[in-house]
């Protein structure tokens, strides 16, 4: 009897584990001859017509592109991967989506090595570290694999698909502060982790913009704190800001978890402080609008970001560009992208293309966008 119970339990555990993995992303190793059978990934919903007659497809169709997100469980990354899959499907390529187990470079290196072994044709990666991926990506390129970065850059990539120019983002953040303080006042920054590449780039660019513009002379930057993208930590940091700086006017959080926590604290404490920054519409519904902690906020469209990464990989694979500055390529939607120089001073080490300007969400459009992402 006891044995039966144990055996049953073991089966249950294995079943649960398998169920948990089912939502994951492992693909059977891609074959060396992709023509014989495309390997449908368990969750590659974007390529449902896998069984189409290969005869009427062009030569490019056998290319397989992979996207590596920062980690599983981040809605922004999920939407980005969705856009990538859709664009690849629209161009007739296979897409593989890989979510590393956590937000570390180590987890991404494992995934990159697996993809190289599978023999994919292109990799787009949202890097977790500014340097640590370089040798893994170089190894991939030595195999003839095209490598681009998106969302956050890293050494070793051929092109950075920039969601929005660093200075454009920093500019809207500074302008938010300028507007919400009425031109003069105190503000503080609530960031993610202290080593997050893109947050640090935006913060550095904000410093530069404020320093170089007399218009912002009356803005007093009190401090920058780090909530580690955790609810509890971000709550603690926000509450400490409110306690330590009674004259605080605005908190800027260039991170989706941070802005949510900060706005939540301000709402719960009924404080007069306003919260600006970059937030996900579906999470910020109820916090963005007139008379709410966040009058307006910004973000870009993650779906579009993923799509452009797929277009960039295709442009490299087709020979439309080799990644040199000044090159242009046109996506199947008709948009032309121009490759511009790197900006190492803000953490962009590769030549880059810019997807678009940050998009503004306010009380008028937040409900509509909350349905999207």
């Amino acid at each position: 009897m006891k044995r039966k119970i144990i055996a049953l339990l073991l089966v249950l555990v294995i079943a649960l584990t398998a169920a948990a993995c089912g939502g994951g992303d492992t693909t059977p190793a891609a074959t060396e001859e992709p023509t014989t059978e495309a390997t449908p990934t368990p969750d590659a919903t974007a390529t449902p017509e896998e069984d189409d007659d290969p005869a009427d497809d062009g030569g490019d169709d056998d290319l397989t592109f992979a996207i590596i997100t920062k980690s599983a469980g981040i809605p922004f990354m999920e939407r980005m991967a969705y856009g990538f899959e859709n664009a690849a499907a629209a161009m007739g390529f296979n897409a593989i989506v890989q979510h590393p187990v956590d937000t570390t470079a180590e987890a991404q290196i494992t995934v990159i090595n697996n993809l190289v072994a599978q023999g994919v044709d292109g990799i787009a990666v949202a890097s977790n570290d500014p340097y640590a991926l370089e040798s893994a990506l170089q190894a991939a390129r030595d195999q003839g694999i095209v490598v681009v970065t998106l969302d956050s850059d890293t050494a070793g990539s051929q092109l950075f698909v920039n969601q929005a120019g660093v200075f454009e983002v920093a500019q809207v953040l500074v302008d938010s502060v300028y507007d919400m303080t009425g031109g003069a006042g105190q503000f503080a920054v609530l960031s993610a982790t202290s080593v997050a590449t893109n947050q640090n780039a935006w913060i550095a660019a904000m410093e530069e913009i404020i320093a170089q513009n007399d218009q912002y002379a009356e803005l007093e930057w009190l401090t920058t704190v780090f909530g580690d993208d955790e609810a509890q930590r971000s709550f603690d940091e926000t509450q400490s800001l409110l306690v330590n700086h009674p004259g605080l006017d605005v908190i800027v959080a260039p991170t989706t978890v941070g802005i949510m926590a900060a706005a939540q604290v301000v709402l719960q404490q009924d404080s007069d402080v306003l919260v600006a920054g970059l937030g996900l519409p579906s999470d910020m519904l109820g916090l963005v609008g007139d008379d709410l902690p966040t009058p307006y906020m910004y973000l870009w469209n993650p779906i579009e970001l993923g799509e452009v990464a797929a277009y960039a990989l295709a442009a490299f694979a087709n020979g439309d560009t080799d990644g040199s500055v000044g090159d242009t390529f046109t996506s199947i939607t008709g948009t032309t992208f121009t490759i511009i120089a790197a900006a190492p001073e803000v953490g962009i080490v590769n030549a880059q293309i810019i997807v678009g300007l940050p998009f503004r969400f306010d009380g008028d459009n937040i409900e509509e966008w909350a349905q999207v992402y």
Partner: protein, 328 residues
């Protein structure tokens, strides 16, 4: 014998209280805003579930076990009720709390069964479940977050609201602490928990069904983690998949600071309450005192070690004094 033991226990908590007061004094010196009603209230609110779960961990440690899956249990139970609210299945706040509680009890029972019937070492069994429950959280939520407006309004209102000027979450914690205190001190079941942890052979010989006691303790611990899941999601007004990662370490640290023996059989509710408060104060003070973020983790670890050592040293001193007095 029991009188002397009581005295010893009392000094243990007393030395811990001194550590906490010293720590608070240092923070107060660094930041005069620390000892104000607003800050103290926010510390108790933000850490109510950490303090709550410490009492469950106390019972697990008392029987000589350990449970490092509680952070994942919190995430799974919180996510479950959040998703059910999003789908409009749960009608009101207390149903949501009960759902999370139920998921927590199931998780705890599963852990307890594997440990008692499967004879797996507690740290290994709960390590496994830490990943299983976390994975399930990702799976059921399809890696999505649940946003503020997708939660029931009365659920958020209750979790963020107050009764008689005190946060509802703090009330829950107080009630649970009184319950566990009475359970451990004055009930047969509570004394059996101590007996199992002090000497399991003696407990078995004296007719205590040790497996049942262990199963109860893990289920109770799971129940508190489940309850905390609802508290967390309601208070922070949103459910993410990665919530409460690493929380188990803070909770175990709180127990150790509170004088709980990892070998079992030793530890009290007042002790872990002080331990949990110490951890909450340490965490909060990192942001209040403006310590460089790069140093915060190292400083947190150092303060935990210092608190444990100060507690042990002061306690040893008082034991020596008691012994000396006895010889006279």
């Amino acid at each position: 014998m029991s009188l002397r033991l009581k005295k010893l226990v009392r000094t243990r908590e007393f030395s811990l209280l001194i550590v906490l007061i010293l720590l608070s004094a240092v923070i107060q010196w660094r930041n005069p805003h620390f000892l104000t009603a607003t800050v103290i209230d926010s510390i108790l609110r933000n850490y109510s579930y950490t303090i709550l779960m410490t009492s469950g961990m106390l019972m697990v440690l008392l029987v000589g076990g350990i449970d490092i899956s509680v952070g994942s249990t919190l995430a799974l139970s919180g996510m479950t009720s959040a998703l059910l609210m999003r789908e409009g299945i749960l009608p009101n706040w207390w149903m949501a709390y009960l759902t999370s509680l139920g998921v927590g009890i199931l998780c705890g029972l599963l852990v307890g069964i594997v440990i008692t019937k499967g004879k797996v070492l507690p740290i290994i069994a709960t390590l496994g479940f830490m990943y299983v429950f976390r994975g399930l959280t990702f799976f059921i939520s399809d890696s999505q977050w649940v946003g503020m407006m997708q939660l029931l309004e009365d659920f958020r209102d209750f979790s963020q609201g107050t009764s008689l000027g005190v946060s509802n979450l703090i009330w829950i914690t107080i009630v649970v602490y009184i319950f566990v205190f009475i359970l451990l001190k004055w009930t047969k079941l509570g004394r059996q928990v101590y007996a199992v942890g002090s000497n399991i052979e003696a407990a078995t010989v004296s007719g205590i069904r040790t497996d049942r006691i262990k199963l109860f303790v893990y289920a109770f611990n799971g129940a508190l983690a489940g309850l905390s899941g609802a508290m967390f999601v309601g208070f922070y007004a949103g459910a993410q998949n990665n919530i409460a990662m690493g929380l188990e370490l803070d909770i175990i640290a709180a127990c150790v600071i509170g004088g709980v023996s990892l070998k079992g059989g030793q530890g009290t509710i007042p002790g872990v309450l002080l331990g949990a408060l110490t951890i909450a104060v340490i965490n909060r003070s990192l942001s209040l005192t403006g310590i460089d973020p790069f140093w915060q983790q190292a400083i947190k670890g150092a303060v935990i070690l210092a608190a444990v050592m100060a507690n042990v040293l002061m306690q040893r001193q008082s034991v020596r004094r008691t012994l000396a007095r006895r010889e006279i």
